[in-house]
């Protein structure tokens, strides 16, 4: 509209100017004329006489001048274009006829510590087209017939914008070679349809280690936006719509290493966009292979052991059992040798895009939220496994001594009759020391510790300090996304957490203390945190940061490990101060007794192993649900190397179900299958 206004105004001004000039000219019209001027100044030029032709001479001169002016204008413009600016236009001509096509780089593979490929790539042929192809109904129908897909499905894929509106949309992946050949032979009929060669993730072991490995999918709009907002950082990968990126697990955590560098192919095209030839290319360079600390054998043992434990729990009547975690780490350096979480998911469903049905199923509570890695992200009450730390606290702060005894009657009334609490063994353990309290997991011993802390003037929160000293309530720093932090409750926490409760109700009371001292109540830990804490106990206080990354291997070169986790050195997470070696010795003796002294049924499982094992069971009580089974062990007890932890949600007693997973993993490590069949259903 603005342009039109300008035209209107200019038109009016011009018109007025013309009327004015007409009037002006009229006034002067008699003064001079074109003809008389020329006619009165004859020039004696060669050949011509003063015929009527003379009158024309001036006019012809003008005509010739006009012709000259015309050619001058044309030549001047040509000069400026072809001589002065020819580089500019040459450039435009080049851009006109070249297009840059990017070729996706294969992602790096993911290997276990022995080089066994857990994730590899396979070639896949995809049929793609731009979105506007959807308007060509005939072609889409034809294509649907050739691909053997329903017309509506093809149409939906063409119109699907998840890969970006301007990107080529994938119609079908993993298309058979014969179909592709047919489409390419009849290129005329299938104009607008492109065949892309891609590599896709392949999982030779199916769901094995799926939670550690994670999965890949096309980059989301949110991720692209986040990248745009962060701006260009040198050294980071610039993603474009349609790129496949890691979305969970190692795939996401080590995206920078796994992602390759896109190749670029310059092609010459004609005006219709048909490719006429290729004009040089930069080949795509694949991403680095990654070696994990996982040992496929131990990993499989973790998964099978967990499954074995779940089945056992179900057979024992715990019908809700099904979720859980089992992990094994090397306590001498923090390497995670196996990490299983149940239920599992199949990472290959994400290849080529996951359907919304499958996606919502993967995220539903009914399906058990299989995407959650319970080993690092599952937060549970620690149950009796925490008693070893409680014992250390009691010894260090003097709330319980190594020679002190508690008489367990099955009902503890140390804080008055009104606040009496049951031992898990209602019939009572009799007289217990701290060591036998750990061995039998006798609750009243620890009620006494908790109660004493509550009334301790100097260290009312010594217990929590001890838990935190060993790394509870903070992330372990494992190199996997979505790690849980856990929770060590104290008075301040209770005050702020239950804001809408009355002051009286949110006051820290002895009941809270006697709860957390046996790992019940509001305390939350992840299986990895507990495993790391037990690694610390086994190593005399040193906890190494658990990790799954071992090294990155250059794909082409045979140069070996190019990049190591922390330069090949274990990374120390923390070094818990030990008050006295005797304290630790007492706790370790207790953990030994858990396996070999407390219950013959438990000892039967471990007696077959060539090494001595120390460990602790636990049974979490949650209102309205079956018990949560825990078992953590380290071996060999005298020279610790492996820590194995297992949790079963609603799996019953720790020493009857979770123990099975732990024993299976140790059995796989030492090559001795579990032959014992009896389970102690008592010890928690």
């Amino acid at each position: 509209m603005d342009a039109q206004l300008v035209v209107v105004v200019a038109g009016v001004i011009l018109f007025v100017a013309i009327i004015g000039s007409l009037l002006f000219l009229r006034g002067y019209s008699g003064r001079f004329t074109y003809d008389t001027k020329n006619g009165t100044t004859p020039k004696a030029s060669e050949g011509e006489g003063n015929t009527p032709g003379v009158a024309f001479k001036g006019r012809f001169t003008l005509l010739t001048v006009g012709i000259g002016a015309m050619f001058t204008a044309l030549v001047a413009k040509l000069w400026s274009m072809q001589m002065v600016s020819s580089d500019y236009y040459e450039n435009l001509a080049q851009t006109n006829q070249t297009r840059t096509v990017t070729t996706a780089a294969p992602r790096g593979r993911i290997l276990d510590r022995n080089g066994v490929a857990l994730v590899t790539n396979r070639a896949s042929l995809a049929v793609t087209a731009y979105r506007d192809l959807a308007s060509d109904t005939l072609l889409v129908r034809h294509l649907a017939n050739v691909l053997g897909m329903p017309y509506v499905a093809v149409l939906r894929n063409i119109q699907d914008n998840t890969e970006g509106a301007q990107a080529r949309h994938t119609i079908a992946t993993d298309v058979r070679r014969s179909t592709v050949a047919y489409i390419q032979e009849h290129a005329g009929e299938f104009s607008g349809i492109t065949i892309d060669e891609r590599t896709e993730r392949q999982y030779p072991y199916g769901t094995t280690a799926c939670h550690v490995l994670g999965y890949t999918s096309t980059i989301t709009q949110e991720q692209l936006q986040a990248q745009d907002e962060n701006g260009d950082n040198a050294g980071t990968i610039q993603y474009q719509s349609g790129d496949v990126v890691g979305q969970a697990g190692v795939e996401a955590r080590y995206e920078q290493l796994l992602q390759g560098i896109r190749g670029e192919q310059k092609v010459t095209v004609d005006a219709q966009g048909n490719v006429l030839g290729q004009a040089g290319s930069v080949p795509a360079s694949p991403g680095s292979d990654i070696k994990l600390t996982l040992d496929l054998k131990i990993q499989q043992a973790c998964e099978n052991g967990l499954q074995h434990a779940i089945e056992t729990a179900r057979n024992s009547g715990y019908s809700h059992a099904g979720n859980g975690a089992c992990l094994c780490l090397d306590c001498t350096n923090g390497e995670i040798l196996g990490m299983a979480s149940a239920p599992t998911f199949d990472p290959s469903v994400f290849v080529g895009g996951v359907s919304s049905d499958v996606w919502s199923e993967l995220n539903s509570d009914d399906g058990g939220r299989p995407l959650l890695n319970r080993a690092i992200g599952g937060q549970y009450m620690s149950a009796s496994t925490i008693k070893s730390l409680s014992a250390l606290a009691g010894l260090e702060y003097g709330t319980y001594t190594s020679t002190q005894t508690t008489v367990c009657t099955g009902y503890w009334t140390g804080n008055g009759e009104a606040w009496g609490k049951h031992c898990w063994l209602h019939s009572g353990h009799g007289t217990m020391t701290l060591q036998s309290g750990i061995a039998h997991s006798c609750d009243p011993v620890f009620y006494d510790i908790g109660n004493a802390f509550y009334y301790d003037e100097q260290n009312p929160e010594g217990l929590q300090e001890m838990f935190r000293r060993w790394g509870l309530g903070s992330k372990t720093g494992v190199d996997l996304p979505s790690e849980g932090e856990g929770r060590v409750p104290d008075a301040a926490w209770k005050e702020s957490y239950f804001q809408d409760w009355s002051d009286a109700d949110r006051t820290w009371n002895p009941g809270d203390m006697t709860n957390i001292v046996i790992g019940q109540g509001d305390i939350l830990v992840t299986p990895l945190q507990m495993a790391t804490a037990y690694a610390g106990i086994a190593m005399g206080g040193v906890e190494y940061t658990p990790h799954v990354f071992l090294s990155a291997v250059a794909r082409d070169g045979e140069g070996g490990d190019a990049y190591l986790y922390n330069n090949g050195e274990p990374r120390e997470r923390l070094r818990a101060a030990i008050h006295s070696e005797d304290d630790l010795k007492l706790v370790k003796a207790g953990l030994h007794d858990v396996i070999y002294v407390a219950e013959p049924a438990t000892a039967a499982h471990f007696n077959t192993l060539p090494v001595e094992v120390a460990g602790k069971s636990g049974t979490g009580e949650k209102t309205g649900e079956d018990e949560y089974a825990w078992f953590i062990a380290y071996a060999p007890a005298d020279d610790p190397k492996y820590v194995v932890a297992a949790v079963l949600e609603q799996g019953g007693g720790g020493s009857s179900t979770a123990l099975i997973a732990v024993r299976d993993v140790l059995g796989a490590i030492y090559g001795v299958d579990d032959t014992a069949t009896g389970y102690d259903s008592g010890v928690r």
Partner: protein, 402 residues
């Protein structure tokens, strides 16, 4: 009168001229103007070369058909060359009638031929030849206006006569415009206007006419904008796409329509040619289909891309030689009518060349006017050769006046 007057007042000069005339009367130079001949043959050869090159990659450009056009054009030129055309001066009414009949010939059922959205073509029954009568209209109009202008013997004395002449030019111009061919209409108008000016119209009349035309066009555009804004594009006098096409040469990248794309591609083709060009067959813009109509309307851009600045200068030099020689022919001719016809033909070439070349390099709006002797298309080729025939005829018969 011409021969007698030629000698002028000087006896020596008379003698010299007479001798020259007598010795060379029968020579070829007397019969054919060498400048026009050389330029014409050069242009035909140049055009044949470039169309041959275009035929290698553009399916529509048929080299044999182009050669056929050249052959027919040469025959036509030779026929007309032998005819003394001065008698047409007395047939002005007949010329006007022929003119109008030609303009509306495509509307005659049975003759009209429409293909691929083109209008303004006729197809001769039985022999299956297509032809664009508007090309012939250009020449007939020149003859018509020249026949009228010649009556004033070199000076138009009254405004009434001048206005009458202008009105007479307006008739064929309006007819062509009604047929929807703005480009050819402008050719008709410009060549006719040159004839009128050369007929002896006073300078101030001409200037006033130009001013009035500019005013009227501005008024038309303004009215159109107002109608546009009130009633929408569907009711407007000039449709948006027409307006875009007219204005796109000011800023080719601003308009993403076909016109803008065409011009942008043409500019790229011309500019990327550089000094020596990319050579025959290497013109990527034209041969890969980026440059539309590379063998017809945008053939100049094709030449520029192939042969560069040098090739363009050679082409323009040939055109300049043709036009200057024709002006010389007009000067030498004594018959005022034939003089004006020759001048009108120069005017026609001026406009067509300036418009076509200017369009390719972004100096002028885009219109569908062919480049004489070069563009692929037999109608244009035949009529341009006919025009050369007329010029040569005027040269040949310059001394036969009574």
């Amino acid at each position: 009168m011409a021969t007698a007057a030629r000698g002028g007042s000087s006896a020596g000069s008379l003698k010299r001229v007479n001798k020259k005339i007598s010795t060379s009367r029968s020579t070829f130079r007397q019969l054919m103007n060498p400048g026009v001949l050389v330029a014409w043959i050069g242009l035909l050869a140049y055009g044949a070369l470039i169309i041959w090159s275009a035929s290698q990659s553009i399916a529509d450009a048929s080299f044999p058909r182009h050669l056929l056009g050249i052959g027919l054009g040469c025959a036509l030129m030779l026929i007309v060359w032998r005819i003394d055309l001065r008698n047409l001066a007395n047939l002005s009414t007949a010329l006007l009638v022929i003119d109008l009949v030609l303009v509306f010939l495509p509307n005659v059922p049975g003759l009209s031929y429409n293909a691929m959205g083109m209008t303004g073509w006729i197809k001769f029954p039985l022999i299956n030849l297509t032809f664009q009568p508007v090309e012939l209209v250009k020449l007939v109009t020149i003859a018509f206006i020249a026949s009228l202008g010649a009556q004033y013997n070199g000076r138009i004395d009254t405004v009434r006569d001048y206005i009458k002449l202008c009105f007479m030019l307006f008739i064929p111009f309006a007819a062509v415009i009604i047929q929807g061919d703005l480009g050819s209409g402008l050719v008709v108008f410009f060549s006719g206007a040159v004839v009128i000016m050369m007929s002896g119209a006073r300078k101030e009349w001409v200037l006033s006419t130009i001013a009035i035309i500019v005013g009227l066009v501005s008024l038309l555009l303004a009215t159109d904008s107002i109608i546009d804004s009130i009633f929408g594009d569907s009711h407007s006098l000039i449709k948006n796409y027409q307006m875009n096409r007219l204005l796109v040469f000011i800023d080719p990248s601003a308009d993403s329509s076909d016109a803008g794309y065409n011009l942008q591609q043409s500019l790229i083709a011309v500019g990327s040619g550089g000094f020596f060009g990319k050579g025959l067959g290497n013109a990527t813009q034209s041969t890969s289909g980026f440059l539309p109509e590379a063998h017809t309307d945008f053939v100049f851009a094709f030449i520029c891309e192939t042969f560069g600045f040098v090739g363009a200068i050679v082409l323009l030099a040939l055109f300049a030689l043709l036009m200057i020689s024709t002006v010389r022919v007009a000067i030498k001719q004594d018959s005022l009518f034939l003089k004006l016809v020759a001048v009108g033909i120069v005017g026609m070439w001026m406009f067509q060349i300036f418009e076509n070349v200017g369009m390719c390099i972004g100096l002028m709006p885009i219109t569908g006017i062919p480049l004489p002797f070069i563009s692929f298309g037999s109608s244009s080729m035949l009529i341009q050769c006919l025009a050369v025939g007329v010029v040569q005829s005027i040269w040949r018969h310059r001394t036969k006046a009574a």
